[in-house]
């Protein structure tokens, strides 16, 4: 299985999201049998739409699946200034406006999870159900970096952005995974190509430097998150289980699933658990 065969039958297009040229992947759903709203996938820091290579096809069995490169990421235009959550959020809102749908489900991982949650907190949001995979935004950056494991991963990640080579990209990829044997060469090559694009280093550094404190998902705000929310964590992830459990308890309708044999990328490392769990969650309450 390669990226091409996983996404075969779908489309890859440039779309105009409120003035930003955006790379969009769409995998058609089951056609007339589909009553479910489309599902939008949002990747994490340093990511790109291909990070959902092990999931998009499976999830398209019951709904159309759409994945985009976030503002400045992958092959989407580098039109941001601060690359804080606010800018990333405005871009995703533009993507949804382009789609012109009344309702949408969203899966967001890490940084993408933060954006997804913020989107769902907006008044008049079209977000129906939310899946947050190892989401960022639940802890302040200083609190997060106080964990020496997180600090060291953060520093190694910085090298892959500042001087992308096969080795630095592979190392950052490895630290996302519990089992390093699951690194695949195609993804390493792809990420290297994307990280070497002109301007990519500056975008990644801006994303890391952005002051996102105003956008933190606070204890006061979480209870106002109305869409049902599935939190996913890797059993070996860095995000403390208490933080996620508190968030799942705080939102209006939340639950937490711990994915075995996985770290920061449970959707990639253990799709056998993640794919059916997400599919079932999204199918609830649909006749």
């Amino acid at each position: 299985m390669t990226l091409w065969t996983q996404f075969l039958g779908g489309t890859v297009e440039w779309v105009d999201a409120d003035g930003v040229r955006t790379r969009m992947l769409r995998l058609p759903g089951p056609g007339d049998r589909g009553q479910a709203p489309p599902l939008l996938l949002l990747h994490g820091r340093g990511g790109h739409l291909e990070t959902f290579v092990h999931n998009a096809r499976a999830w398209s069995a019951h709904r159309e699946v759409i994945a985009v490169d976030l503002l400045g990421h992958g092959l989407t235009a580098q039109q941001g200034e601060r690359y804080d959550i606010g800018e990333l959020l405005d871009h995703v809102a533009g993507v949804i406006a382009h789609l012109g749908v009344a309702e949408i489900d969203v899966v967001g991982q890490s940084l993408g999870g933060w954006v997804a949650a913020r989107l769902a907190l907006r008044p008049d949001t079209p977000v129906r159900r939310l899946v947050l995979i190892e989401p960022a935004g639940l802890q302040d950056e200083s609190e997060r970096l106080a964990d020496p494991r997180v600090r060291s991963a953060y520093e190694r990640g910085g090298r892959s952005f500042a001087s992308p080579t096969i080795d630095t990209v592979r190392l950052r990829f490895a630290q996302l995974l519990h089992d390093h044997r699951k690194i695949d060469d195609e993804m390493v090559e792809l990420r290297l190509r994307l990280y070497q694009l002109p301007g990519a280093t500056a975008v990644h550094q801006a994303v890391r430097a952005a002051d996102n404190r105003p956008w933190l998902l606070t204890r006061e705000q979480l209870p106002t998150l109305r869409p049902p929310c599935l939190f996913l964590r890797g059993a070996h992830g860095h995000l403390p289980v208490e933080v996620l459990q508190q968030a799942a308890d705080a939102v209006a309708a939340g639950r937490l699933l711990t994915v075995p044999d996985a770290k920061q990328w449970p959707h990639y490392e253990n799709p056998a658990v993640v794919n059916p769990a997400v599919d079932q969650f999204l199918q609830e309450e649909l006749s």
């Binding site: 390669t2 990226l3 091409w4 065969t5 996404f7 297009e13 440039w14 291909e50 092959l75 195609e186």
Partner: protein, 292 residues
């Protein structure tokens, strides 16, 4: 390199060519329109190593699945002879707003290019006729050879289409190549998935019966047709083509008033896939050179 990284920067789209939904792998925002079409039962992935590099030469490149092929519509109420493929090509050109386009046609795609140029000369610019089908020389021995090739293509293709397995698909692909190692698992998987689509299973037997049939031979381009074709045509051949020998291509290039000929080494029926760098250089140079 994989298909995905080869095609990074290109779009995969569906466009309505008249009533026929058509898959297009495309790149390039400016320059002349170029349409790439492959052989019988082929698909855009045959050009996956060419679309982005040719777009970087300042061309607007569209590799398309021909009618009845790949992920394009596969109507069962048409006859898969040269004219219907031309009709589909013209409707696709309409859909992208191209009054005129250069054609890079391999095998059947080359036949479509020449037939369209003959019937609608104003819509076609330059033609790269790569290991092409569809030409018939006057020489009796060559005529017999051409009929035998049609029958052989029909046999090997029918086997891969009737009961597609990854193994039968791999054998058909290896037959195309000078070096069988060119056939990657990814290529086999892609083609297997296409051949096992429900509409492929329903319509490909008809396609494979009709396209190389006796009745379609009236649409072959004869020496007289070639001599009357004003277009610039690059006849691009290989030293290990499993179908028509290079001598036929060379002879056709001499009959064409504005023909030229190039022979590529260490390639079979898919020079664009087997020797992509050389193919892209030759085709890019040919399509971007100033008008004489």
């Amino acid at each position: 390199m994989t298909f995905w990284t080869d095609a990074l920067g290109a779009q995969v789209r569906y466009r309505d060519a008249g009533e026929w939904r058509t898959r297009s792998l495309e790149a390039g925002d400016e320059g002349d329109h170029v349409i790439m079409m492959g052989g019988l039962t082929g698909h855009v992935e045959g050009f996956i190593r060419n679309v982005v590099p040719l777009a970087q030469r300042g061309l607007r490149v569209y590799a398309i699945d021909c009618l009845g092929h790949g992920y394009t519509a596969k109507p069962d109420n048409v006859t898969y002879h040269a004219p219907i493929f031309t009709e589909h090509l013209l409707r696709f050109m309409d859909s992208i707003g191209a009054e005129r386009a250069h054609i890079v046609g391999q095998s059947l795609g080359g036949w479509i290019g020449l037939w369209t140029a003959k019937e609608h000369p104003d819509r076609i610019g330059r033609i790269v006729f790569a290991t092409g089908a569809g030409i018939l020389l006057d020489d009796e021995a060559r005529k017999r050879e051409s009929a035998e090739i049609h029958s052989r293509v029909q046999n090997v293709t029918r086997r891969a289409v009737e009961e597609p397995t990854r193994e039968s698909v791999r054998r058909r692909l290896e037959w195309l190549m000078a070096d069988p190692a060119t056939v990657t698992d990814e290529l086999v998987e892609t083609r297997y998935r296409i051949y096992t689509l429900p509409d492929s299973r329903a319509v490909m037997p008809k396609l494979v019966a009709e396209q190389p049939s006796e009745e379609n031979r009236v649409h072959l381009l004869t020496e007289a047709d070639l001599a009357a074709l004003p277009h610039e045509v690059l006849v691009l051949w290989t030293d290990k083509n499993p179908t028509t020998p290079a001598e036929v291509g060379r002879r056709a290039s001499e009959i064409l008033p504005n023909g030229s000929f190039q022979l590529m080494k260490d390639a079979g029926h898919w020079p664009m896939f087997e020797q992509p760098e050389e193919f892209n250089r030759i085709v890019g140079d040919y399509l971007t050179r100033p008008s004489s």
